[in-house]
Amino acid sequence: MFAAILLFAAVVGVLLFIAGRFGGKRDRVVAYLYLAPVVLMLSVGLLYPGVRTIYESFFNAAGDAFIGIDNYKTIFTDSEQLVVLRNTAFWVLLTPFAATGVGMLYAILVDKAKGEAFAKALIFLPMSISFVAASVIWKFMYEYRPDQGNVKQIGLVNQIIVWLGGKPVQLLIDSPLNTFLLIAVMIWIQAGFAMTVLSAAIKAIPDDIIEAARLDGVGPWGMFRFVTLPAIRPAVIVVITTIAIGTLKVFDIVQTMTGGRFNTSVIANEFYSQSFRSANQGLGAALAVVLFVLVIPIVVYNIRQLRRSEA
């Protein structure tokens, strides 16, 4: 570990030393020196593998015969893969809006309230723990015990169902309910992010606008509708798109909670199963490319919105 850190510190040191010899007279040489390691790492670590994966997505399972767009055909026609696509759609349509909604509501409710910092930390804390740990936490919430006289529920959700007079449910096995329960975990993690960004945006609204609206007799709902929401609109878009991108790539939650079984798989998880478990490299690569293609429009929209809000 220390060897690696020292090695990279040495690389930076050598670069700085060489740069120092030029004494700031020749920007061009120094700039290229500064950028060289970054460009090298990005080319080898992101650019080349990305291109390579696109290429491999046109090959068969073993990666030795060109099969054209067959892998993509499989993704869009095979019944199992269609479930994967359907689940991914559920995830991307539900998570960003639900997490942003909860985050925004909470940010407004605790704004300027007593103990705001503490109240915010409660919601924000799940963001700092791993998706794996979050999955363990929620698996315990969803835990199921068969409905027999002396067996007690140990998962809170099923216990609440029992308290309400219902029968315990195999929450993580029943499809499509299980997919929505996994999505709830992602919402739980991401709401803190939404709240933090939106809270900052809300606090940035100039006081005189709020004051003027108040003098005009605008009520709490009107305040939200006509003052707060328009003012934080750019931030809301950034939050929704950021969470949407994160949701598309979500792998850990599905992997840890169900392993993609019981019809819960999503593209990011299916990619892993196909590439490393089913040894179907071609299909795995194609799934990764589909993921990539789905991310692009969200990012482009995001950047355009950012530009417009800056203009």
């Binding site: 700039a31 809170l156 900052a200």
Partner: protein, 303 residues
């Protein structure tokens, strides 16, 4: 912003006209319903973690036969679960904990060093192809990690570094660079150019400017991204599962995920294991959340 400052219970003494108008309006807004909703959300967001935390201190039999909420009427306390997950002959979390640290530190420091050089070049130097390069690096943020994994794995095998920490250090560093350069560039750009000009007038070269002028100003940004990257690497599962196949180099997340799959009902081990993996990121988060939030805001909304 979100600093965990202790709550003051004494009301402000000097209440001027403006404040009273504001507090009046606030009273109108903070109806009991609003507080109730806020409390419900707070409870929903805290209860799952709290339940597992309580469980991690309950005896194995108790966890498996009764809900954690019964603990309030029948409190029992044991450290056995934590002892079991650290048992060197079984779960052995101590080794995985160490692996997590060994993986995370270089994976934070390497991209920080390289990205600050690049961000400096982009912010304060003139060279041909600057805009194109900057946009290209920014655009690389949209490449999902999934797209890179299999070719990288092949590459690491060919280079003979498969199943070493190098695969994780290099991958995490490469994946972090686009965002790191973007965030640091945003911060460096805000440094007044007169400061740089003045240093240049005094005959300082790029190296001197970087270390004496920029580095002190940049510390909050470096901290912000450092925490960001720390949490990301510490919490990662996908990259580790792909490259760190053998237990000698697997981090905590991999072992916890394995446990969850193979011993899905061993709640005494899972709950303790989860909290061992949570301790470090939550501590880092609580101590440095101000910087973390800054990084978050710089990365998502500008300004």
């Amino acid at each position: 912003m979100t600093t965990a400052t202790p709550l003051t219970t004494t009301p402000p003494v000097a209440v001027d006209k403006k404040e009273s108008a504001a507090s009046k309006a606030k009273k109108k807004l903070t109806s009991p319903w609003a507080s109730l909703v806020a409390i419900i959300i707070a409870v929903l967001w805290t209860l799952p973690t709290f339940g597992l935390l309580i469980s991690s201190f309950r005896p194995e039999r108790a966890i498996k036969t009764s809900g954690w909420w019964t603990w309030f009427s029948d409190p029992t306390f044991t450290l056995d679960n934590y002892r079991s997950v650290f048992d060197p002959d079984a779960i052995n979390l101590a080794d995985f904990f160490l692996n997590s640290i060994v993986i995370t530190l270089p994976a934070v420091i390497i991209p920080l060093c390289l990205a600050s050089l690049a961000a400096y070049a982009f912010a304060w130097m003139k060279f041909p192809g600057k805009n194109f390069l900057f946009i290209a690096i920014f655009a690389l943020q949209i490449v999902p990690i999934q797209v890179t994994l299999i070719p990288l794995l092949t590459l690491y095998v060919d280079m003979g570094i498969a199943n070493t920490f190098w695969t994780l250090w290099l991958s995490h560093s490469a994946f972090a660079l686009p965002l790191a350069i973007y965030i640091l560039h945003n911060f460096i750009k805000e440094v007044p150019s007169s400061l740089i000009e003045a240093a240049r007038m005094d005959g300082a070269g790029h190296v001197a400017i970087f270390f004496r002028v920029l580095l002190p100003l940049l510390t909050p940004a470096l901290a912000a991204f450092g925490i960001f990257q720390f949490l990301w690497v510490w919490n990662d599962l996908l990259v580790s599962l792909t490259f760190a196949g053998s237990p000698e180099i697997s981090p905590l997340t991999v072992q916890l995920s394995n446990l969850s799959g193979t011993r899905g009902t061993a709640w005494h081990l899972l709950s303790a294991g989860a909290f061992v993996s949570i301790i470090v990121p939550v501590t880092v988060f609580l101590l440095l959340q101000r910087y973390f939030v800054r990084g978050l805001l710089a990365g998502s909304v500008k300004g």
